[in-house]
């Protein structure tokens, strides 16, 4: 089963990327590092989409979906980093434990 390149190979890589991204989002305090984790999660999902498109579904739908995910990830990164930079200008830190002024 493992001597030929198969769907499972790609699914395992996608799953591992997703898990590392999840771990990054949950354990990091730095907001930029959390954004990196989100990028990893989206990439893991994208690998799965393209792998299923190649091995199971055929056609183009998986690849076009992956294309939309890439575009939305780029938009999300731009807005997220703009928010982080605005927060940094205001309170000189991006540690998510210290950004608590809404709580008071």
């Amino acid at each position: 089963m493992m001597e030929h390149l198969s769907l499972s190979h790609f699914l395992v890589v996608g799953g591992l990327l997703f898990c590392f991204g999840l771990m990054t989002v949950l354990t990091r305090r730095n907001a930029v590092a959390m954004l990196m984790g989100i990028e990893l999660i989206l990439n893991g999902a994208n690998v799965n989409l393209v792998a299923f498109n190649h091995y199971v579904a055929g056609g183009m739908s998986g690849q076009i979906f992956a294309l939309f995910v890439i575009v939305l990830a780029a938009a999300e990164a731009a807005v997220g980093l703009a928010i982080i930079l605005a927060i940094y200008q205001m309170i000189r830190t991006i540690d998510t434990a210290n950004i608590a002024s809404l709580r008071q």
Binding site: F18, V32, Y55
Partner: protein
């Protein structure tokens, strides 16, 4: 071992080792470099899945755009002298436990589920993607352009310096 399997393991190693570096490295700059390795590895996997257009898009948009933005943000927001503590971890134990659980589950499903694999002809994809974007997927394509415009305006408004009236 067939050649495409060797190439697959090379790119998969780059992707997984880079992704592992993102949550584990002490320095946030090395996290960004790990993300670079992961993105290059994923682009290689796209080539192996005969998604050539998507691989080039991955290189252009992610590495040429998103990663440069992230490195900009890293440089702008962490002071060099305290870069060692710029990337703290909290709850590493619970994170590792969660990683083990979800990783085992996903790998188990990926390997043992009876996927209905069909052998498909691989062909050049750019023409089909272009036809699809202007045919069946025209509405999401147009909505995406509106989203990009909103992102452009929103990012400029949020990130600019506040001009005080007084």
């Amino acid at each position: 071992m067939p050649t495409n399997l060797v190439v697959f393991y090379l790119f998969a190693l780059a992707a997984v080792v880079g992704a592992a570096g993102v949550p584990m490295s002490k320095n946030i700059f090395w996290s960004a470099m790990g993300l670079l390795s992961a993105l290059v590895g994923v682009a290689g996997l796209y080539v192996l899945l005969s998604a050539d257009f998507l691989a080039v898009t991955q290189l252009l948009v992610y590495i040429g755009g998103v990663l440069v933005l992230i490195i900009f943000a890293v440089m702008l927001t962490s002071q060099i002298k305290e870069i060692e503590v710029s990337n703290q971890n909290v709850g590493l134990v619970s994170g590792a436990i969660l990683f083990a659980l979800t990783g085992t589950l996903l790998c188990f499903v990926a390997i043992w589920a009876p996927w209905k694999v069909v052998l498909l002809q691989s062909h050049e994809t750019t023409t089909d993607i272009g036809n699809g974007l202007l045919g069946a997927w025209l509405l999401p394509f147009e909505v995406t352009s509106v989203v990009l415009l909103a992102t452009l305006i929103g990012a400029i408004v949020v990130a600019r310096k506040e001009i005080k009236e007084d």
